[in-house]
């Protein structure tokens, strides 16, 4: 469980301090799938980066109970090392943290199989499609088996079809590993389809506006997308965002 208590962020801008995030309180349950949505500039990415330790909070604290260790993080861009093959990219965190070669190879091959890229193991990133690159990035984030996976609009740059497919793959990964996942997204459909909890934020300065608990049954799939409750939830989320 991760308890975010009174976390805020103020940046120093050219015209004085800028409040990016008002004090936020949020509890994320272990093994749950949480989405954070909100308009651009609502501080949702900042909040995620603070949880990841990539930014320091101006106030407040994050109590981490059970999700210790380095979190996995998937950026909007794949951020792959262009001179390494898909396999070497997935193994990179293991290589740089002294995991024995054989162990790293075994883990990497498992992950490549899971994301369906075993036959592209030796491919360089520039020869892969956008969706494939983001799959490699997800596998890399999972390589060191983090308890917490943070994702910052990971599918924002992909076309709709690829995005839908990756949503289903992400849900399968979550079902198989039961990691605690926090996903920042612009898409109400993505948030409603994947999450246990959807956190809606309001803009400038960012603050939590409403928290929705999603009671759609799992496993979810094409049937979920026809469910009136799914459409009701999306309508509610859109209303909250407006």
């Amino acid at each position: 469980m991760i308890r975010i208590e009174g976390v805020s962020k103020t940046f120093s801008g050219p015209g004085g301090p800028v409040e990016a995030l008002r004090p936020v309180d949020l509890t994320i349950l272990s093994g749950s799938f949480t989405s954070i949505i909100g308009p651009s500039g609502c501080g949702k990415s900042t909040l995620l980066r603070i949880v990841a330790g990539l930014e320091t909070a101006s106030t407040g604290r994050i109590a981490n109970e059970g999700e210790q260790g380095r979190p996995g993080f998937v950026f909007q861009e794949p951020v792959l090392l262009p001179w390494l093959t898909a396999r070497e990219n997935v193994r990179f965190p293991l290589d740089t943290s002294g995991v024995p070669r054989a162990e790293g190879d075994r883990r990497t091959d498992e992950l490549l199989a899971m994301i369906g890229l075993s036959s592209f193991a030796q491919a360089l990133p520039r020869t892969l499609s956008g969706g494939m690159r983001q799959r490699v990035a997800i596998a890399r984030a999972l390589s060191y088996d983090p308890a917490l996976l943070l994702m910052d609009e990971p599918f924002g740059a992909l076309d709709l079809l690829t995005r839908d497919r990756l949503n289903d793959e992400l849900m399968a990964i979550w079902t198989a590993t039961r990691k605690t996942i926090v996903l920042v997204t612009h898409s109400v459909e993505e948030a409603a389809y994947l999450s246990d909890t959807v956190v809606v934020m309001s803009a400038r300065p960012g603050a939590i506006k409403r928290i929705h608990t999603v009671d759609l049954e799992r496993p979810r799939g094409e049937r979920t997308k026809l469910d009136p409750r799914f459409h009701q939830l999306m309508a509610d989320l859109r209303r909250d965002l407006a």
Partner: protein, 253 residues
């Protein structure tokens, strides 16, 4: 297969152009009756070249210039790389020193050759220092701009994975900066050869630049041309070595 034939065709066409240039040179000497002490015929230069090579003279002088080039270029490149890295790691250092660097970079470094000779004598020392100096700046500039171009996402990744400064440099930042560093290295090779010649012209008892000045004093154009031929071969070889290493290292592009 096709790339091999293409390379062969390219090599052949450059050979034709080269042969044409030699023919024009030869024709001009005969047609305008140019005296040999001003411009000898290509075969005379070639004969001189072979004679000197057989005597071991050419080897002695070329070896001297080559060792100056090797030492100076290596020292300058390593220093440029290290200082560039330090500037990137400690932005304050970069801000403090970049005006001074800019000043030194725009000053004609060749002009300090007499000073170096005064301080370090007529031996290898002053030439190595001069070559190192002219090689240093392009490599420094290439390193700084290459490291500055590393996208912030990769810095986030390094932070997230808790990479040590050394691993981050070797496995993330350096590979990103390499194309820009190699651009600096290629500029450095040409400037290094010029610096070697200038250093030897001003004061030396050996080296290809020394041969140039001996040729000039003795009205011996064949000697001057033979030395020039050797110098361009050295410069071309250095450039090609850097390019070959670059192609290998940057194969992923």
């Amino acid at each position: 297969m096709t790339s091999a034939t293409q390379a062969l065709a390219r090599g052949f066409s450059s050979l034709v152009v080269l042969a044409g240039a030699v023919a024009v040179w030869w024709g001009a000497v005969i047609l305008f009756r140019i005296p040999a002490f001003l411009l000898p015929t290509p075969d005379a230069v070639f004969a001189r070249f072979v004679f000197m090579a057989r005597e071991g003279q050419l080897e002695r002088h070329a070896t001297a210039t080559l060792s100056e080039l090797g030492l100076g270029f290596a020292a300058g490149a390593v220093a440029g790389l290290l200082v560039g890295w330090a500037f990137d790691r400690l932005p304050l250092l970069g801000r403090l020193f970049s005006p001074l660097i800019l000043l030194l970079q725009t000053a004609p470094k060749i002009a300090i050759a007499p000073l170096l000779l005064l301080w370090l004598g007529l031996g290898l020392g002053p030439k190595v220092v001069l070559i190192a100096l002219v090689s240093f700046f392009p490599v420094l500039t290439g390193t700084v701009s290459g490291l500055a171009a590393v996208e912030p996402g990769y810095r986030d990744l390094a932070r997230l994975l808790d990479l040590s400064a050394a691993i981050r440099f070797r496995r993330v930042e350096l590979p990103f900066a390499l194309p820009s560093i190699f651009a600096g290295l290629r500029i450095a090779t040409t400037q290094a050869v010029t610096a070697a010649v200038v250093g030897e012209l001003i004061g030396a008892t050996f080296g290809l630049g020394y041969l140039l000045s001996v040729g000039q004093e003795n009205n011996d154009a064949a000697l001057v041309l033979a030395a020039i031929l050797m110098l361009s071969t050295l410069g071309w070889a250095m450039h090609e070595i850097v390019r070959a290493v670059e192609t290998r290292v940057l194969a992923w592009r």
